[in-house]
Symmetry: C2
């Protein structure tokens, strides 16, 4: 029995998210990976993904693993075998054999997400698939000040999509940096886990700060409120990218 | 009578190039711009483009102009009126009124093109639409040395697609820089004009240098030969972007 860990990058534009959703008729990243692996193994293979990215969300460093009794390809050649069969918008960047108890989701100790904003009066056609467009000039300094309140262990219930069944909404954010590369603004969030839509709701809240609708210090009150209606809107998926999963 | 200059950015992925090609049934950038302008003017408008980019080639700073007797929109609002009607992959970045004798193609004094190479064993799904993939490690220093021979006034016949009717193949290259941002390598060429496929054939030749197939000094012999068969292959369109047109 082998347990193989794959680091996968994908353009989520044309997929209905990572996770298989039986019956929707829409392609998912997981389906494409499983059908490609099953072709190579000549046996059904199921994968476990570290992060269940939503429809339209991208990944640079998604991690998956799969276990197989009959896996026929040496680990050093897996990326070649997979990439020859995968479509252009999903690629295996790295393959490693890992101990049998490695689980892409449960073994993860930290994840890093990036949300990218194109801050210019006209949206660039060359960035439209990978950024959210905000035409009003944003105050990056204020956004950085607001983001600093996120670092630490907090109950992030205010930043969880309503109706989500998850009860324990305490997470630790290790890093909340805003990098300005005009006209691009990138938010990097590294944490031990993320609630459903958490990065997109945090970004929506930071946009309110960047536009001067609320002061940076309001972030601490929004966190304390544990109330989704206090935070900003859920920004669209195409600006979001799962950058790295750590173990 | 007004003469309006527009700076236009587009993602060429889904178009059959800039120039209208009657009868092909494929959309061109020019067709989309003309139909949008004609809708606004409520009269047929024809545009002149500075560079006739090929199918799949992108633009960051393409320039067009059009003349109209009945143009109804103030120049400061043209980008808003146009961008509301244009698809996401074509946008007007800037609009200016110019003297009646301004001609986007004939008045141009210099153009800058960029060709982008993704130099990594696996192609990134997030860069695939805007870069050419070269998996073998390239010697950037050697490519820079080879590119230096291009600067100046030369007969670039070796770098013109065969069968092109253009007779005067002398052009001046002002700048031929190779910028390394691993795993990306960008070639910037600024010149007073470019022959058909010239940037893509120059890039193919520089790739031969980067892979050690030919020494950098061979570039001067290839220029001197005035023979297309001496230069490298024509690399694919998606790495090419028309960055700027100067007047």
């Amino acid at each position: 029995m082998k347990n193989i860990k794959l680091t996968v990058a994908y353009d989520g534009t044309n997929y209905h998210g990572f996770q298989e959703q039986r019956g929707t008729g829409l392609a998912t990243i997981q389906e494409v990976l499983e059908s490609t692996l099953s072709k190579i193994a000549k046996a059904p293979i199921q994968v476990i993904g570290a992060g269940r990215t939503d429809a339209g969300v991208h990944a640079w460093g998604q991690v998956i693993n799969f276990r197989s009794h009959c896996w026929p390809v040496p680990t050093s050649k897996i990326h070649l075998a997979m990439n020859a069969l995968l479509p252009d918008d999903i690629k295996v960047m790295k393959a490693e054999e890992v101990p049998l108890d490695f689980h892409a989701r449960f073994s993860a100790t930290a994840k890093t997400y990036r949300y990218s904003i194109y801050n210019h009066r006209v949206m660039s056609p060359l960035h439209r698939l990978y950024c959210y467009h905000e035409p009003r000039l944003l105050d990056v300094r204020a956004m950085q000040e607001g983001a600093a309140y996120l670092v630490g262990t907090h109950d992030f219930k205010s930043f969880q999509a309503q109706g989500t069944p998850v009860k324990d909404t305490v997470r630790t954010i290790y890093r909340a940096d805003i990098l300005s590369e005009p006209p691009l603004i990138h938010l990097y969030l590294r944490g031990n886990g993320f609630l459903y839509n958490m990065v997109r709701i945090i970004t929506g809240t930071l946009l309110d700060i960047g536009m001067g609708k609320i002061p940076p210090s309001e972030m601490s009150h929004i966190i304390a409120a544990r109330d989704r209606t206090r935070a900003g809107t859920t920004v669209p998926p195409q600006g979001l990218c799962l950058m790295e999963v750590e173990y």
